[in-house]
Subunit: 400 residues, 2 copies
């Protein structure tokens, strides 16, 4: 019997009726002969409600306690789903992170799964039970409850699939992964499959379908991840290692945009690599994530340095910048940016993609501010007002 | 420094504002120099709300999963209280049953605490932290989450006080323990102190102030338990071993009534001890709790046998009775009973209490149906319509 690890998101278990529906679906899968492990998110808006409660106590709630608080949402939904399955006459058992040893490291609120002690899951499966696991949570070395960050239940599911050498199915409220966000581009096309690397670039770039860490795990252990609707004939998307044949068929797989960043430019500074790397180290030490960096060619050894950071970190980052560069007048902030990225494994073997993209931008009168590239990605910042025109032009050109 | 274990009930932590108030109270106690461990119940009606959710899934929800579900309520309130204390600038840490090894045995929903691994609590106290513990929950030998039954957080608190050799304070929404329920008798007097044994008789008899098991633990390890309002000058009640002097001062300490039982009478059966004990064994095997038993004197070796059981178990119990005694017409059910009990260590040394009680019943035209007694208790069943008259007469006579 194959082991199937299914994950159901918060909207799939948002009400008792929906939990009963999931129970029915899961039982059918068990009847078909598979061993089934189900990972659940918290019901509907539970996590937001808990965050709001914590917010009434503190603007900056203690992170250990916030994780302990938030973990209860998934414990509730997992116990309720196990009840619902037992009510249908099937064996079921719910497990918390403690009970199956989901060991994590890293910070509260965005911990990483290091390992899972799969023994309890395996024993329960061997007893014919359907196993329900509270997603999103783990236990760190100190024995504290941790959470994995928004969407972390995806990662719980993939990690269990890795541990049990099973297949992984992520059920959500969208019917798969699209080359472009369908809310921003009507003609968006669903992908039958997408490479791990492409998915990683897209999810870290604002295509919020999957928890990035889950895709990394899938890639590392070569576990295909199905993403789609449950209980539906509509075929979803498989995230997996894509063959060369497929790579060559389409140079660009998807595009993603994000309005969450701000660009800081420091003008006319010495091209002093020690000074600049000291700045970036200070920013990194505050766990502020610098994304795009660009620097003008030096003139008389003077340069302009630009970089983007999350909007939420702007004030903290500016303080650090001012500790390094006292001349306040030389610092410019640009909040009117959209990060616009196209991604495709095919770019490795197809030349001219950048040229096609910039030709379209020029034709559509879209100004490009900063540019960074990787082997399978081109990212630039543009004005927010140009975003939809850019999406239409690029998605049309590359048939996304 | 003394270790103080405080328990706050659901109404004391019913809102975020109330949790903040508890945080202030706890911090003041810490400031006064004590090591403080706080045990919390779930916020307000959380437990009832969770039971209601489970009820939408099943009329008889799986007990393992129900315990897992219900345990989340106390995890939430403990994390929130720890946050609130940290917000005041004090060290605090919340712990679940897993994290401090609250080991239980027995059935789901009414488990017994066997032991607590106090190391994490002691370490955190030695680091100057205030320790918050999720009440009501434990972990059984299988690693499942269990709950201790309604009011079980009292028992969590006493068990921790036992483990840490500390004092125990139960804060609730009543200002202490009364000889009679003040809602049923206006002139009810609050007790300054009450003996463990008396409290046990009263709480198992329907005076729902304290979780019985908590009083048993206090008695076994001789830990005095303070019960009262928090943040108040009104003095509460101490549950402890009472000295002889006090015992003799008052023959009756309290009275309690319960309408939760039903009497079953089997008429005109053989006085066959094997048959009768076989019946009681069958009933006990279904975990139905038989309370009062009375049997008429045999005439021609025929007797009438009466006993009381919880109303909820009536149908199941009747089935068992009919398996043993096929003659249906000989079984009578009396649902119109109030169990009326008076309790007092002083009864051991004061004679004539029973006589005074029955004289008052006779004068007030109150019919007594069944009677049982112990060394410190007299219980009889009366008609429900006579309950308030009985309370008034007895509470007046014995100055309760």
């Amino acid at each position: 019997m194959a082991v199937v690890v299914q994950k159901y998101g918060g909207s799939s278990v948002g009400t008792i009726d929906k939990i009963k529906k999931v129970a029915n679906t899961v039982v059918k899968r068990r009847e078909a002969g598979d061993d089934v492990v189900v990972v659940v998110s918290a019901m509907g808006d539970t996590t937001d409600d808990l965050i709001e409660l914590a917010g009434q106590i503190s603007k900056n709630p203690d992170k250990r306690e916030l994780d302990a608080l938030l973990s209860t949402g998934e414990m509730m939904s997992s116990a309720l789903l196990a009840m619902a399955i037992k009510e249908l006459g099937y064996g079921a058992v719910s497990y918390t992170a403690y009970q199956i040893g989901i060991k994590t490291s890293g910070q509260y609120g965005k911990s990483l799964i290091d390992d899972i002690d799969g023994d309890n899951i395996k024993r329960s499966l061997s007893e014919g039970k359907i196993v329900i696991v509270a997603g999103f949570q783990g236990i760190n070395q100190e024995g504290d409850i941790t959470t994995l960050g928004r969407g972390g239940s995806d990662t719980t599911a993939v990690a269990i699939a890795v541990k049990l050498a099973g297949v992984c199915e992520i059920y959500t409220d969208v019917d798969g992964i699209y080359g472009v966000d369908p809310r921003k581009y009507n003609a968006a096309k669903k992908l039958n499959e997408i490479d791990y690397e492409e998915m990683l670039e897209l999810s870290s770039l604002g295509a919020q379908v999957m928890h990035s860490r889950s895709v990394e795990l899938g890639q590392k252990y070569n576990i295909p991840i199905y993403v789609g609707l449950s209980n539906s004939d509509i075929k979803g998307t498989i995230i997996k290692g894509v063959s060369n044949m497929n790579m060559e068929s389409k140079p660009v797989t998807g595009l993603a945009t994000s309005d969450e960043d701000v660009a800081i430019t420091i003008r006319d500074i010495n091209n002093d690599i020690n000074m600049i790397s000291s700045l970036f180290e200070s920013v990194a030490s505050k766990r502020i994530n610098i994304d795009m960096i660009s620097q003008t060619a030096p003139i008389d050894n003077r340069v302009n340095l630009s970089f983007t950071i999350p909007k939420a970190d702007l004030n903290e980052c500016l303080e650090i910048v001012r500790e390094h560069y006292s001349c306040k007048e030389a610092i410019a902030i640009d909040e009117d940016i959209t990060k616009f990225s196209i991604v495709g494994i095919g770019m490795k073997t197809t030349s001219g993609v950048t040229a096609r993209m910039f030709k379209l931008f020029r034709e559509n009168n879209i100004e490009v501010k900063m540019i960074t590239t990787s082997e399978i990605r081109i990212t630039c910042t543009i004005k927010q007002e140009d975003k939809l025109r850019a999406i239409n032009a690029i998605a049309g050109e590359f048939n996304l």
